[in-house]
């Protein structure tokens, strides 16, 4: 393979929100802090982390749904090469059809007053991508068929559908403008297990057929393990570990990733209580600890961890980790 085909690249990407009012009470909440990632074209890139880790904000920043306040992000496909940081006007409009979002809650994401056909057609009409109603209808039917919705479904309103079907409608709406990059934010979290597998299989199939690039945001590690080629773990706005999925699941290096893995409830009733438990909760982003952000909960934290923030290091095998002690821990505490 020649040079890697990178669709999305972030360099030191940060997103901060101003909070507090008044002159003396101005604070910046750093939701995403200095993230470097490269998302290869045609890949399924997973972002994992607890609530408050900044995974959703990262996804939104890459979609230009929240302003990027630091660092830079780039998008490059066959037609355009965009710097997302200061994107505006017609270029931003153009980017909107190339990058789309699938929401978590299919009950809240669809307007109850629109038919399924109108829901799916709306992006085409708003962006002016089709010239006639016939063209719109044809495009809607085509994309609906891909998401296993038939003509009968298109005439109905969302309330007539179950969770799985609604999520398929959301997917069709996201795909109709022909995007290259899709952010799926907890897209199966609200679904029942029996339906979840169906939606995951559909996403995979669409991605392969249409050659799309997915950023899949989830808190569910087993779902990520089954769908993504590459995983990045976030904690308090930082990237703490990133690797190809198999490599990560075979040997997680960061103590946080390890704790996350062992916290998944095992299906074996005789395997109770073997998990290494993590005490406490993720600190508030307005009151971040110094040094390594994870040291307040890390069972292996030392003096250095409280003083100095570890950088993401790449030992040469594509499995990057931000921890001062990961090497000793790999020998000390086998995963």
């Amino acid at each position: 393979m020649s040079e890697k085909d990178i669709l999305i690249r972030a360099e030191g990407l940060s997103v901060g929100f101003k909070i507090g009012d008044g002159i003396f009470n101005k604070q910046i909440l750093k939701a995403v802090d200095g993230i470097n990632i490269e998302i290869e074209r045609g890949s399924f890139f997973g972002i994992v982390g607890e609530s408050g880790s900044g995974k959703t904000t990262l996804g939104r920043a890459l979609l230009k749904a929240v302003p990027i306040t630091g660092g830079e992000a780039f998008y490059k496909d066959d037609e355009v090469d965009l710097n997302l940081t200061h994107l505006e006007g017609p270029e931003l409009k153009d980017y909107r059809k190339r990058a789309q979002l699938i929401f978590q809650d299919p009950y809240a994401a669809l307007s109850p007053r629109m038919t399924v056909r109108d829901i799916i057609a709306e992006p085409l009409e708003v962006m002016g991508l089709t010239k006639s109603r016939e063209e719109t209808d044809e495009r809607v039917r085509e994309i609906a068929a891909k998401c296993r919705l038939n003509l009968e479904h298109l005439r109905r309103f969302p309330h007539a559908f179950s969770g799985g079907q609604r999520q398929r409608i959301s997917i069709a709406r996201a795909l109709v403008s022909g995007p290259q990059f899709i952010v799926a934010d907890e897209s199966v979290a609200a679904l029942d297990v029996s339906i979840q597998a169906d939606v995951l299989n559909l996403l995979k199939q669409i991605q392969q057929e249409m050659g799309l690039t997915f950023m899949f945001i989830s808190h569910d590690l087993s779902v990520v393990a089954h769908t993504c080629d590459h995983v990045a773990v976030m904690y308090l706005g930082r990237l703490v570990e990133t690797a190809p999925t198999r490599q990560m699941f075979k040997g997680p290096r960061h103590p946080y990733t390890r704790a996350l893995f062992s916290a998944i409830p095992s299906l074996d009733p005789d395997d109770r209580g073997t998990a290494q438990k993590l005490d406490g909760e993720i600190p508030s982003p307005t009151n971040q600890p110094p040094g390594c952000k994870f040291h307040t909960r890390c069972p292996h934290a030392e003096y250095q961890c409280m003083q100095e923030e570890p950088r993401l290091e790449n030992p040469g095998d594509g499995h990057e980790v931000a921890c001062h002690r990961w090497k000793e821990l790999m020998d000390l505490v086998p995963a």
Binding site: S51, G164, N201, H219, V223, P269, K277, D279
Partner: protein, 331 residues
Amino acid sequence: MSVLIEVENLTLQFRTDEGLITAVENVSFSLNKGEVMGLVGESGSGKSVTAKALMHLNAGNAVYSPQSKITLHTDDGPVDVLSLRKPSEMQVVRGGAISMIFQEPMASFAPAITIGKQMVEQLQLHGTMSKAKAKEISVEMLDRVGISDPSSRFNQYAFELSGGMRQRAMIAMALSTNPKLLIADEPTTALDVTIQAQVIDLMKDLVEEFHMGIIFITHDLGVVAQTADKVSVMYLGRLIEEGPVRPVIRDPKHPYTQGLLAALPKLDDLDAPLTPVPGDIPSPLERPPGCVFHTRCSKIVGDICTATQPVQLETEPEHRVACHIYGGDAA
């Protein structure tokens, strides 16, 4: 072990504009003291409605069939829950012998009243306890569920606590009345995995300490495997499989239970394809005749599946399944 609660032939319908909707049909089970039962099923399976029936807590349009019977064994003898009529009578079960924890702790606490005031209020409601005593018990309970600095948390509002802390406070509140039966409706679903692990641990400790029965409602089979002694699986208002946790998880008999397990992404085999249970759970307005699962079942044995309801059969001790594959004719 002594029986704590018995449910016999529970059938529950709701009167709606579109007609009578069957939410629970002919469900029977029992729970012993100190036992944890996992109640599993997807949305619309009737698991929450069943749990609420135990406290006679369903809405006014609920219609119980005359055969339905729920017996709670308290220290003062058995109580026929469904025969209770007046709110004052129902206090025996509501907040007295039975407590409930809900999925969304933020929605369960009043936002404008401190956690402590709510805890004291419910304690005083159930007896002639003095305010000081109620406060003492509440703070002690908050401490017991692992909330640091309980006496200052006592004066805080729900929004000031994080998700995990809120769920702990909810548990503390539910346990402070010293219930015999705790119903936990998806208590960890809204929590992160690391916090979920903490809450599961806490609940296990509490069962041992207080020796109460727990009904744990969840859709997560991993959580069931980690907590429950026995499992009941519901689908569209019917109990389709029940038994001790090991045989049900390791060797499920009903095609639906098998499907649920196959649909779970497993970490030890990343190459295994994800197999969804085909189709969607039917609307309760269009209950399929015969076996309620036949519209999604891949193992239909013949016309019998679409025509007659299967009865429960015991395939091994304590492990019962309602499916025509294992023979047995309709009742």
